[in-house]
């Protein structure tokens, strides 16, 4: 599996990653070599094998959908202490709706 530069640019866009244009060919090469490694999975027939979703074949544990901890305003301040930009308890981002 060989990825071209435009594939890398598209994947980077999907992943919301800014990649320097000068690095794209390098990523194309290294990602292709990883996909080559992965391609060996096709050497086995797995038609009758069920995909494994959990190492211990356990069912997901569920809990009632209730608030079990309410951090309140103090908690909010604590969570927002390391946020890049906040104001009045709100996270600030560039304007989305004009």
């Amino acid at each position: 599996m060989s990825l071209q530069s435009r594939d890398v640019e598209y994947i980077a866009h999907l992943a919301r990653l800014a990649i320097d244009a000068s690095e794209v060919p390098q990523y194309a090469q290294s990602l292709s070599s990883i996909l080559d490694l992965v391609d060996s999975l096709n050497s086995v027939n797995t038609e009758t094998i069920a995909p494994m979703s959990h190492p211990l074949a356990m069912a997901q544990r569920l809990r009632p959908d209730l608030v079990d901890a309410n951090p309140g305003e103090t908690g909010r301040d604590q969570f927002q202490a390391h946020a890049p930009q906040v104001s009045d308890g709100l996270y600030l981002v560039p304007r989305v709706v004009e």
Binding site: L17, H82, R95, V96
Partner: protein, 490 residues
């Protein structure tokens, strides 16, 4: 020497009043200040907090409470992937360089409750993605045995710090070998428990179906004690096992008579350094002398473990790391023109090259049209790998082999070639895919560099792995050796 003592010996000395926890803490902090400039095994130190914890431990040591707290007052370090309240938790990334966790991970909480004294947070590959500790934003860690070589990864800081006896023990996490491989390359003991044994709450997630925390220390008996304090059900981790925690030290002294050790032919083939093979055989001989028997087995799908892992792990990481968006915490780019620009540049600037590679692989294999061909296929192969183990465990009790195909390689040797780097985890990855416990034990030296013996057991067999480790360590002193220069300051 004080720094060569194990956890049990420290506990006894603290109780006998030979030294206080404050004095012991100062002793290790001094070792760190003397030796770590070279090793770079720590990202953050918390000396003041540690001395306060030690003073509190000294008060408790004088009370009856000390009787039920075997780890009380003993210093250690956390891998910088466990959230520590009020202290930077970086996961080795520029993205989280300024992140001060507002809460403690369950493991952090539990070891604090056990009375242990945290000296700081150890260096690691960025977001635990690496096998050499070279992807850390804070610079590579160096192997104490030969400082031009890597300590392994991703828990390379913990392994190097323990190997140089800058701490008597440390925590690590293992997604594809990140406890066992650095333990092997640095000559210490490291255990990855059964998936779900130790809570993942407050561990910065890499690949949630594979991540598991575990202990790293010179000896198996130390790891047993540490795991005792780390393990247990936690309602805050949805995949935490609801099982009673066994006494991991209970069978350490039980003889190995009747224990069957399987040797998969696939673990002793092409690519294995002859010096490593020799030492692994020497360690196996000691286990046989202690009563175990060796059985030839096969794990036919071994070669598919690394390829399956490099679909499953990147897929999960691309999803887990999407939370690093420059909005609520972590790095944010300057002057974003719009929201998309904010996401892209914050992530582009905050993540290193290896993390970007894995996010892109994960994004690709999960993208429309490729999901079945890659992700679903890998999950089916994962089942085959699991079946190999299931079949093997009908014939043997544990599976043995080298932890890593080589001893520690030189810094820079594999840094530019991701696939070569990935293949250095060829013997460790399958245990993560299957959720099985595995341990790496010191097995001597090849050209002056440590070799690790890996044992993989059936689910919940940590006690048996530790028993085998302890019995091996009763007959060898490989786990007690440390590089000479670290003996200088006492």
């Amino acid at each position: 020497m004080i720094f060569q003592r194990n956890l049990g010996e420290h506990a006894a000395a603290l109780r006998a009043g030979e030294y206080s926890s404050v004095e012991l803490t100062q002793h290790y902090l001094e070792r760190i200040s003397r030796y770590d400039r070279r090793l770079n095994s720590f990202i953050t130190l918390c000396a003041d907090q540690a001395l306060a914890q030690a003073a509190a431990a000294d008060t408790l040591l004088a009370t009856d409470a000390a009787q039920t707290m075997p780890l009380l007052g003993i210093p250690f370090a956390h891998k910088d992937l466990f959230c520590t309240q009020g202290l930077r938790t970086s996961s080795g990334s520029k993205m989280l360089d300024t992140f001060i966790s507002p809460y403690d991970a369950t493991v952090v909480e539990k070891l604090a409750q056990a009375g242990m004294v945290m000296l700081g947070k150890t260096n690691m590959d960025e977001f635990a993605m690496g096998s050499s500790n070279e992807t850390s934003f804070y610079g590579p860690v160096r192997n104490p045995w030969q400082t031009e070589r890597v300590p392994g990864g991703s828990s390379g800081g913990s392994a190097a710090a323990v190997a140089a006896r800058l701490v008597p023990a440390a925590t690590g996490t293992d997604t594809g070998g990140s406890i066992r491989q650095p333990a092997a390359l640095c000559g210490i003991t490291g255990l990855k428990p059964t998936y779900g044994s130790v809570s993942r709450y407050g561990m910065i997630a890499f690949a949630s179906s594979l991540d598991q925390a575990g202990p790293m220390a010179p000896a198996a008996a130390d790891c047993a004690q540490l795991l005792q304090a780390m393990a247990g059900f936690d309602a805050r981790d949805s995949t935490s096992l609801q099982r009673e925690v066994p006494d991991y030290s209970a069978t350490l002294h039980t003889p190995l008579n009747g224990v069957r050790i399987g040797l998969p032919k696939e673990y002793f083939g092409e690519g294995l350094e002859s010096g490593v093979a020799l030492q692994v055989e020497a360690a196996l001989k000691l286990l046989v002398a202690a009563g175990a028997t060796l059985v030839d087995i096969s794990l036919p799908n071994t070669a598919l473990a690394v390829p399956a892992y490099y679909v499953v792990a990147p897929a999960e990481c691309s999803s887990n790391l999407s939370r690093m968006d420059g909005v609520r915490f972590g790095h944010r780019c300057k002057n974003p023109v719009d929201l998309e620009d904010l996401y892209k540049r914050s992530r582009g600037e905050g993540f290193g090259a290896e993390v970007k590679r894995r996010i892109m692989i994960g994004t690709y294999v999960l993208s429309a049209g490729y999901y079945d061909a890659y992700y679903l296929k890998a999950q089916r192969v994962r089942q085959l790998i699991c079946d190999d183990f299931r079949h093997a465990f009908t014939m043997v009790d544990v599976i043995a082999g080298p932890t890593s195909p080589t001893t520690a390689f030189k810094l820079g040797d594999k840094a530019d070639d991701p696939v070569t780097m990935y293949l250095s985890d060829i013997y460790t990855i399958a245990a993560n895919l299957a959720g099985l416990p595995g341990i790496s034990l010191p097995a001597g030296f090849s050209d002056g560099l440590p070799v690790g013996l890996q044992l993989v057991g059936n689910y919940f067999s940590e006690g048996q792995l530790l028993q085998l480790g302890h019995q091996l360590q009763q007959q060898s002193d490989w786990h007690l050796q440390l590089p000479e220069e670290y003996l200088a300051w006492q």
